[in-house]
Symmetry: C2
Subunit: 188 residues, 2 copies
Amino acid sequence: MTRPLRADSERTVRAILDAANRVLAADPGASLQQIADEAGVARTTVHRRFANREALMEALVQDMLEQMESVIDDSRPETAPPLVALHEMSAGYIRLKSRWRVGAVTEADVHQDVVERIKAKNRAMFQRLADAGVIAADTDLEWAVRAYFALLHEAVERRAATGSEPDTLAALVTSTLVGGLREPVSPA
Amino acid sequence: MTRPLRADSERTVRAILDAANRVLAADPGASLQQIADEAGVARTTVHRRFANREALMEALVQDMLEQMESVIDDSRPETAPPLVALHEMSAGYIRLKSRWRVGAVTEADVHQDVVERIKAKNRAMFQRLADAGVIAADTDLEWAVRAYFALLHEAVERRAATGSEPDTLAALVTSTLVGGLREPVSPA
DNA sequence: CGAAGTTGCAACACCAATGTAGCGACTTTG
DNA sequence: CAAAGTCGCTACATTGGTGTTGCAACTTCG
């Protein structure tokens, strides 16, 4: 719609979004000043790029959602064996360090389009898992997706705390989700 | 330590804490005004009872932790069969509608004592589950507890959305946690 | 009943965060 | 190289939340 940003602007915007992601994850009420500091940028520059705090938030959510979507696509959920795709997807999410919960973004937002796409893709992934017999055929897909993200979220926290490898944590999540705690953790 | 509160004061304090719990669950950055409104009380009264916002927070956390602890104790984790206790505990937590995740309160706080007790009790519960062979013997207890609360949290959200019975949701959580999605949901 | 304590209300001071504006210096782009 | 655009910085206006005080009306409790 608008013409592309100049190179330096684009760097700045990226720096701000990344900083905001980090800072707001730690404290959702953090000030724009804190975000600007983390981004190595003057506070006024943040205001130049994003009219409101709200505008920044929207852009941030949009950005995170897009990153999530590309994680999904990169895991080749349509072609790879379901369990492999699930593992790839988990590792990707964990690397993202995102503390956002897609499942929680239920509210009708400006982001409906992306959210709907992501939800559909997630649902499809679990549908494939069900079809392949990896999970029970009568699994409640809505619950499956929510449980999946809940576990992923814990895995991200654990990564921050222990510094485990994304792949290890992905295996843990997958194992817990599919087989429960009854079975010992086994690699994909 | 101090002499007991007068009857009306006690009512007020309870009203404020309950209101704060509701309001802050929806928006952690809510103002004291919003909390006062929800409690049906003047804002100045909130300040009279709690010197700071911080003091209110502390009292709130303390209160929530105590409620959690009594949920645990009510589930008779030492005497009841482990799976039954787990189910009881889950239903109790869901009823509490607590959006606080104990696992997340890692920071060294004024509440260490209660937090430590709760953590120990949770750990003990899962240890019993392991000893009874309900979950794998080599289960990482820390992970088990975190996964458990993550699923509980989702169950609470689901309750808000669908209005399911606490017992149904508890069964779902227990089943998912122990048996994973591979097996169909089965009653305790 | 009466003293002690509590509440609502109005008024006020204060501060941190937000948002705006202008200017000189620097960077990108054609 | 030059025009257009961007950034850092300083200064300022505004606002919403926080915390305080005083007083009249009401509640509790001995």
